[in-house]
Symmetry: C2
Amino acid sequence: MRYYKISDNTIRRLPRYLRTLEKLREQGETRISSYGLGQLLGIGSSRIRQDLSHFGTFGVQGYGYSVTALRDAISKVLGMDHKFSAVLVGCGNIGKALLCNFDFAACGINLMTGFDVSSEVVGTTHNGIEIKSMEELDCYLTENHIDLAVLCVPKEVAVSTADILTRNGIKAIWNFTNIDIIEPGSQILVENVHFSDSLLALSYYLSETIMD
Amino acid sequence: MRYYKISDNTIRRLPRYLRTLEKLREQGETRISSYGLGQLLGIGSSRIRQDLSHFGTFGVQGYGYSVTALRDAISKVLGMDHKFSAVLVGCGNIGKALLCNFDFAACGINLMTGFDVSSEVVGTTHNGIEIKSMEELDCYLTENHIDLAVLCVPKEVAVSTADILTRNGIKAIWNFTNIDIIEPGSQILVENVHFSDSLLALSYYLSETIMD
DNA sequence: TAGATTGTTAATCGATTAACAATC
DNA sequence: TAGATTGTTAATCGATTAACAATC
């Protein structure tokens, strides 16, 4: 158990390391140095070694890292072996896109079921995931141990839906509604996927290049 | 014209400021202090003043900021008045979700048209946006001035599609394929929306809370 | 062995926070 | 005027980068 906080910057680089290692493995590479990995990622080698040092020693002097061993170590650090259970709430376009295209299992997440208000989609199955009625949500959460909720409902019901989730012991929300469902005092974890923030940052850099 | 680089951290906070200001305006607030804005965002007031100072002076001593004036100033900084033109390439689930739900105009982006390979969707219109055949993409880009492309094609064709875009003068790619379409030397701007990176970071923090 | 590369400590750099004169 | 709050300069803090002994 560690007694200091690891920086968010470090945590957010780990999935990128993982992605690059997986790519290397697919290409048949078995070893990689921190320098080599840094080249692929466009960052310095010592940043990578510094990042990894928070979690253990994974390398071998004079050799580097085993691609698969480092990949496995990072995926464990990221909690991918916990097999957290999840539900997807709101199966509109974005929700359905995640259901059909996003590989939850590859992230170590066990997606149990979806929920929606529309009678048109309730009862249907997408990618092996059944969609239940939103009315069943409250009850379902009390009867099943669910760690995480993927929130894809319309803006208007985002806060009220988040309330239902928190009341029922959900510990983390992956938030695709473009509003901040923060409750500063709350213990619940919220990871926001704000599309517009991302696009606006790109817009800024684009307008910068035009000014030159 | 500035002669120093503004940090990415600052840029990525601007859309959050904008979002909060818009919310305040909807609530009928006309003025806000950096302290008040900081409270709403969970950050310090001097960070906000420091951030804003890179772009001009928008406040009034002893009063604070006009909500609408600051909102307008930030949206201009983010290039939202440029009305950049965009195309959406790949109209599967994620592409369609963006077409139907995402408010490009609210980000100052002029979405012109979509492209897809499937004859089932080619010719259809979503949210006023027509979907053309992917075969027309190359030609369309040479005949029209397009600044930005939203890339939502399947992984397998991500790199080859990105090549078409760069060859035809696209300056920025908003990348929803979960792979890195980097070309380190390239001048093109790429903003990645890596769902899995986001989910894995959440997974890390979730597993941390469990260990306590 | 010699060369390579780690993990870690020290140095540097940049970002955040605090302080404060200016002034509405 | 007195109080509030800005924009900016200085101080602090943390993150990145460089250096290097250890060792495969």
